[in-house]
C-alpha cells in the first residue's frame, strides 16, 4: 500500500488502469453535469411558474425582490411593526429594523438580538434595500379556484375526455377488428381511403360540420365534441389494426369451431391480448381531448358552465394577463392532473410512443 502511494502519480494517471478509469470518470462527470445544466435550462419555465404562482402580487413589481416567493421582512418591537433593511456595516451586511430613522443617520434594532439594544448607524436609511423573507402566497390558488369555478372546469374536462376516449376506443376497436379479421370486397380500397383521411386538415370539414351542428342546435353543448368520436378515428383504427394483424389467428379459429360469435371472439380473445396498444391509444386520445382547445372554443363559446379547462384558462388569461401571479397559479392548477398521471403511467406512455411511433 505504501508502495502504491509512493509511485509517481503521473505514471499511474497516464498509463495504468486507474488512469483509464479516471478519464472515464471525468467523461461521465462532465457529460452528466452538462446534461444537468441543459435540463435546468429546459425546465426553468416550470420553476418560474411554481415560484410566481406562490408570490404576492406586490412582489412582482418590486425591482429588488428575490426570485423565490417572499414578502418584505418586518420586525415588531415594543408593540410596533418596523420594516427590515439590508444595512451595510463594517462587519458586512446586516438585517436591521430602523426604530428611529433620521435624515443622515438612524437607530436600528437587530431583530436577531433585540436584547442587545439600539444600534447607531451613520448613513441615509432611504438608500437602504428592503430585506425579504421567504413566504408563500397560497391565496393565489384560492382566488383562481373561485374566479374560474375551477372545480366545474376540471369536471367538464374530465368528462369530455373520458366520454370521447370511451367512444373512440369502442368504435375504433370494432372497425380495426373488421379490417384485420374479415375478407370483403373493396377492403383494401377502403383501408387506403381511411389512411388518406389521416392527413386531411380538420379545417377542411370544419365549417359545414359547424353549420350542421348549429342547425341541429348542438352548438353550446358537448355533443359536437363527443358524437364524432363514436364513429372511429382513422389514426386510432390504423394503429389498432397494425396490432391486431400480429395476433395469431389460431385462437380465433379454435373459438370459432366451438361456435363463438365474431363479437365474442373480439371481446374474449382479441381485446385481452391488445391491452398495451389499447392503453396507448386510450391514454393519447384522453390527453389529446383533455388539451384540445380549438373545437371547444368554437362550440362552447359563451357557455362558461360547459367549457373545459383549456378554454376557461385562456379566457381567464385574457381578463387577468396583468396579474402574472394569478395566471401562473392557473397554469399550475391546469397541469397538475396531466403531469401526475404522466408520472404514474410513465411506462405505459413510453411504451405507447414506441407502439404508435408518434403521438398525434
Amino acid at each position: 500500500m505504501t508502495l502504491a502511494a509512493a509511485r509517481p502519480l503521473s505514471r499511474v494517471g497516464l498509463r495504468g488502469i486507474p488512469g483509464r478509469r479516471l478519464r472515464r470518470w471525468t467523461a461521465i462527470t462532465s457529460v452528466t453535469l452538462f446534461g444537468l445544466l441543459v435540463m435546468g435550462a429546459y425546465l426553468m419555465p416550470l420553476g418560474y411558474m411554481a415560484a410566481t404562482s406562490l408570490k404576492d402580487a406586490a412582489q412582482m413589481s418590486e425591482p429588488g425582490a428575490p426570485l423565490y416567493p417572499a414578502k418584505p421582512a418586518t420586525f415588531s418591537w415594543q408593540g410596533q411593526d418596523y420594516p427590515v433593511y439590508n444595512v451595510p456595516t463594517a462587519e458586512g451586511m446586516r438585517r436591521w429594523a430602523p426604530v428611529d430613522p433620521r435624515r443622515e443617520d438612524a437607530t436600528f434594532i437587530d431583530p436577531a438580538h433585540p436584547e442587545a439594544g439600539p444600534i447607531e448607524w451613520q448613513g441615509r436609511w432611504r438608500t437602504l434595500e428592503q430585506a425579504w423573507e421567504f413566504s408563500l402566497a397560497l391565496e393565489n390558488f384560492v382566488t383562481v379556484w373561485n374566479q374560474i369555478n375551477f372545480g366545474r372546469l376540471l369536471f367538464n374536462t374530465f368528462a369530455i375526455a373520458l366520454i370521447g376516449t370511451v367512444g373512440t376506443l369502442l368504435s375504433s376497436v370494432a372497425v380495426a377488428y373488421g379490417f384485420s379479421r374479415f375478407r370483403f370486397r373493396g377492403r383494401n380500397t377502403l383501408l387506403l381511403l381511411l389512411l388518406a383521411t389521416i392527413i386531411l386538415p380538420v379545417q377542411i370539414t370544419l365549417i359545414p360540420t359547424f353549420a350542421v351542428f348549429l342547425a341541429l342546435h348542438w352548438t353550446g353543448t358537448w355533443l359536437p365534441l363527443l358524437v364524432p368520436h363514436f364513429f372511429a378515428n382513422a389514426y386510432n383504427v390504423f394503429l389498432l389494426r397494425q396490432y391486431f394483424v400480429t395476433i395469431p389467428r389460431e385462437m380465433d379459429e379454435a373459438a370459432m369451431m366451438d361456435g363463438a360469435s365474431p363479437l365474442r371472439i373480439l371481446t374474449s380473445i382479441i381485446v385481452p391480448q391488445s391491452i398495451p396498444v389499447l392503453t396507448a391509444v386510450g391514454l393519447f386520445h384522453f390527453f389529446w381531448q383533455w388539451n384540445d382547445f380549438f373545437l371547444p372554443l368554437i362550440y362552447l363559446q359563451g357557455n362558461a358552465d360547459l367549457q373545459p379547462l383549456s378554454v376557461g384558462i385562456a379566457g381567464f388569461n385574457a381578463l387577468y394577463s396583468q396579474k402574472p401571479t394569478l395566471i401562473q397559479a392557473a397554469a399550475v392548477m391546469s397541469i397538475i392532473v396531466p403531469v401526475v398521471i404522466f408520472f404514474f403511467a410513465q411506462r405505459a406512455f413510453m411504451r405507447g410512443i414506441v407502439i404508435t411511433g408518434v403521438e398525434k
Binding site: 419555465p45 418560474y48 379479421r181 381511411l194 377542411i204 364513429f231 390527453f287 383549456s310 388569461n317 397541469i335
Partner: protein, 300 residues
C-alpha cells in the same frame, strides 16, 4: 356452403367497419363537398336563410386579401425560423440522452418529455410569463450574463424566436423519434469511421446525419404540417388579436377570425381549401425531393 360462409364473413366485416363508413360519410365526405359549395356562397351562420351564391368571388378576394397574404407570410416566416431550431434541438437532446456517459439517461428522457404532457394553453401561459420583458426569467438569465433581453412578445421581430422557444419546449416527441433513429445506427459504422481517422465532428457529419436523415425528414414533414395548423399559442397570447402589428396573425388564426368573429363562413371555407392545397402541395414537394434530403442506404 362456401359461398354462404364467405358472404357471412363479408357481412360481419362490413358490420364492424360500419361506424367508420358512416362517420367518414357524415363527418368527412359530406362536409368536404359541402365545404366546396359553401366556399361559393356568402354563408353567415347568424342568417342561414340569407345564403346566396357569390360565384368565385371568395376566391378572387382571397388572392388579393392583405390579411391572407400577411398570414401566409407570418406562417412561412415562423416555419423558416422554428423548424430548423426544433429539428436541431430535438436531435441534440436525443444525442445527449443517448450518450452512454450520461448517468440516469431514462430520468433525463422522461424529464425532457414532461413539457409535452403539459396542455398547450398552460404552456403558453407559462412562457408568456417567462418571456416577459421585465419580470420574465429568460431576461433575468440574459441580464445575469450582461445581455439586455428583448421584449420578446411585443416586438414584430423577436416574437418569432420567442414562439420558437415555446415550440422547442414541446419537442419531446421529436426527440424520442430522433432517439429511435440514433439507436438504429449500426455501431460498426462509427468504428469504421474511427479507423479511417474521423474525429467527432466528421463522425457526426458523415455518419450520424446521413443515417438519421430519414427520421429528421419525418420530423420535418410532421412539423411543417403542424406549423400550418398553428393556432392555440397565437390565440391565447393575444386573445386572437394577432399582436403586435399582425405579426402573430397565423393562417389558422385569420381563418378563425373570418369564420367566428366576422361570421364570414363562406370565405372561411375558401381559406380552408387554400390551407388544404398548400399543405398537400408542400407535402408532395417534400416527398418528391426526398432523395435530396435523405440518405437512403443500399438496402432500400
Amino acid at each position: 356452403m362456401m359461398v354462404t360462409l364467405a358472404r357471412r364473413e363479408s357481412l360481419w366485416g362490413l358490420a364492424f367497419i360500419s361506424p367508420w363508413i358512416l362517420g367518414a360519410f357524415l363527418f368527412t365526405l359530406l362536409p368536404m363537398g359541402a365545404s366546396l359549395l359553401l366556399s361559393l356562397t356568402n354563408f353567415d351562420p347568424r342568417y342561414p336563410d340569407a345564403i346566396q351564391s357569390v360565384g368565385l368571388d371568395n376566391y378572387g378576394r382571397m388572392l388579393t386579401d392583405p390579411l391572407v397574404i400577411q398570414s401566409l407570410g407570418v406562417t412561412g416566416k415562423f416555419a423558416l425560423i422554428m423548424l430548423p431550431l426544433t429539428l436541431a434541438v430535438s436531435l441534440g437532446l436525443a444525442m445527449l440522452v443517448n450518450n452512454p456517459r450520461l448517468i440516469g439517461r431514462n430520468v433525463f428522457r422522461t424529464l425532457f418529455y414532461v413539457p409535452m404532457q403539459i396542455p398547450i394553453v398552460a404552456t403558453t401561459l407559462i412562457w408568456q410569463g417567462v418571456l416577459n420583458l421585465h419580470t420574465g426569467w429568460l431576461n433575468f438569465g440574459l441580464g445575469a450574463v450582461g445581455v439586455a433581453g428583448p421584449d420578446w412578445l411585443n416586438s414584430a421581430f423577436w416574437v418569432y424566436p420567442g414562439l420558437s422557444l415555446i415550440s422547442i419546449w414541446g419537442t419531446g416527441n421529436m426527440m424520442l423519434i430522433a432517439l429511435a433513429g440514433l439507436q438504429s445506427v449500426p455501431t460498426e459504422l462509427y468504428e469504421a469511421a474511427r479507423i479511417d481517422g474521423a474525429g467527432r465532428w466528421a463522425q457526426f457529419r458523415n455518419v450520424t446525419i446521413p443515417m438519421v436523415s430519414p427520421v429528421l425528414f419525418y420530423n420535418l414533414v410532421i412539423g411543417l404540417i403542424g406549423t400550418f395548423q398553428y393556432f392555440t399559442q397565437a390565440y391565447v397570447l393575444t386573445n386572437g388579436r394577432g399582436d403586435p402589428d399582425n405579426a402573430t396573425l397565423f393562417f389558422n388564426l385569420n381563418l378563425y377570425r373570418e369564420g367566428w368573429r366576422y361570421y364570414d363562413m363562406g370565405y372561411a371555407a375558401t381559406l380552408a381549401w387554400l390551407l388544404f392545397v398548400i399543405v398537400l402541395g408542400l407535402t408532395v414537394i417534400l416527398f418528391r425531393t426526398r432523395s435530396r434530403w435523405v440518405y437512403e442506404g443500399g438496402a432500400r
